[in-house]
């Protein structure tokens, strides 16, 4: 073949064609797969919310296992009895509150505007769970999660996830041994909101003290742990009036 690949014209043409071809392929792939991806993300959110409530298929092996995707929709409507949006103290029902993007709401709050705060209220074995979505940042990228609490401001369960924390270190925020520590931990300290911090020096690796507002940190993941602490306090701060209204003690 007698193409002179050193010519500038050829180089520019090649670049242009390559960009067009690659762009088209990616655009087709992205828009073609979008509905499927959206559906998967919706199921994942439902699974996460149910997981925080303790509706999951965990066994004793220490690994996380969700309600299967095929059943999650019906299980979700079975356990989640009400979904509300709290906006400036006013409560409105919204059957799709769980799809609200917490990142946007936190940014609104940061800019001094009124955020719409979703709460998923679920019922399991006669007990009411208030599931609150959270969003924050870890070491490399976003972290998020859901926290289920009861009227006594005691955490019933959490589910955390992350976009790009280091595997083996910060990524372990979604490991059972880390998340399980939050269950039973009180958000209150002498009747005041204290949140829960991920603490390196709490000297309680088995997490037996449930009233110290601390869980044991992950070794080698200080910044991700601090991100969890900040995420919990920043998110719950927005919900403080609502939490006060459901609190019974």
């Amino acid at each position: 073949m007698a193409i002179n690949t050193e010519k500038n014209v050829y180089t520019v043409l090649f670049a242009a064609v390559m960009v067009a071809v690659v762009g088209t392929i990616l655009a087709f792939a992205a828009s073609g797969l979008k509905p499927l991806i959206k559906e998967n993300e919706r199921f994942e959110k439902q699974q996460n919310i149910l997981y925080a409530m303790g509706v999951n298929e965990n066994s004793d092996e220490g690994s996380v296992s969700f309600i299967p995707t095929s059943e999650v929709e019906s299980t979700f409507s079975e356990y989640i009895t009400r979904q509300i949006v709290v906006r400036d103290g006013e409560i409105t029902e919204d059957p799709e509150a769980y799809l609200i993007d917490m990142k946007k709401q936190l940014n609104l709050a940061k800019d001094g505007e009124t955020p719409s705060l979703p709460v998923m209220i679920g019922e399991k074995d006669g007990k009411t769970y208030y599931v609150i979505p959270m969003y924050g940042k870890g070491l490399w990228d976003a972290i998020w999660g859901h926290m289920a609490i009861d009227e006594n401001m005691v955490v019933q369960g959490v589910y955390f996830d992350h976009k790009g924390e280091t595997p083996g270190l910060g990524a372990n925020i979604k490991a059972r041994y880390f998340m399980d520590d939050f269950s039973g931990e009180s958000l209150l300290n002498n009747g005041r909101y204290a949140g829960i911090s991920v603490a390196k020096g709490n000297n309680d690796p088995l997490n037996q003290d449930k009233d110290d507002n601390q869980v044991d940190a992950l070794a080698g993941a200080t910044i991700t742990g601090n991100g969890i602490t900040a995420m919990i306090s920043e998110t719950l701060y927005l919900y403080k009036d609502y939490l006060e209204s459901i609190r019974t003690q």
Partner: protein
């Protein structure tokens, strides 16, 4: 008749030992340090790189006669990024759970120097079949080191393998921990990987003196 000629077989076998991308060429060190705290992450990364490097080498090799040399690096980068993004999107649509596991590796694969290195050094000058073998071979060589490092770091740092406790429970003091053994917290931070890689290089060069450079 052998499945591969001797020359072709060497493309796969060389990078596994005497021309290993990590221990001899010292490429791909960044990801070898970053994700080897757990054996599982090492295995996932190794498989991903085998896939991307095998396929990427073939694509670059097919395009080798039409790529303008002035912009070849960026063309290579686009090929890698496109492959990785397409795989990521397809997995998100059809195997969501798996894609969640792989999400953190996407960035590490795109910037992996071994991939660029093999495109540049091999695929640009060789045919698709040989490039494919070279890609698979180098990715395997990379993967082997990753798995060895991951094995030692997880075992000594957390006392587990693939997440299963093999040395007993460090908090309840059972198994080996009953004798006073402790996990070495240093092993789970990245500098420990550098030491493990260093030890592998040391062992390898003491066994094969031809690898030691003369100064």
């Amino acid at each position: 008749m052998a499945l591969l000629s001797k020359k072709d077989a060497n493309l796969i076998l060389d990078p596994l030992a005497d021309n290993n991308p990590i221990t001899i060429q010292v490429l791909g060190i960044c990801s070898a340090l970053a994700i080897t705290a757990e054996l599982k992450a090492s295995v996932v990364m190794a498989l991903s790189v085998i896939f991307v490097l095998g396929l990427g080498n073939v694509v670059i090799s097919l395009m080798r006669n039409i790529i303008p040399s002035k912009i070849r690096i960026i063309v290579q980068l686009i090929v890698i990024a496109t492959l990785v993004i397409i795989v990521d999107q397809v997995l998100k649509a059809f195997a969501y759970e798996l894609s969640k596991t792989l999400a953190v590796f996407v960035g590490l694969i795109i910037t992996n120097c071994i991939i660029m290195g093999r495109f540049e050094a091999f695929a640009l000058g060789n045919g698709p079949w040989r490039s494919f073998l070279d890609g698979i071979g180098n990715a395997l060589g990379y993967g082997v080191i990753l798995i060895i490092v991951g094995f030692f770091r997880e075992l000594l740092g957390s006392g587990t393998l693939f997440g299963y406790p093999v040395l007993g429970d460090p908090i309840a003091k059972t198994g080996l921990y009953a004798t006073g053994y402790e996990n070495n917290g240093f092993m789970i931070i990245p500098p420990a990987a550098l030491i493990v890689v260093g030890v592998i290089i040391w062992v390898q060069r003491s066994r094969n003196r031809a690898l030691i450079e003369e100064n």
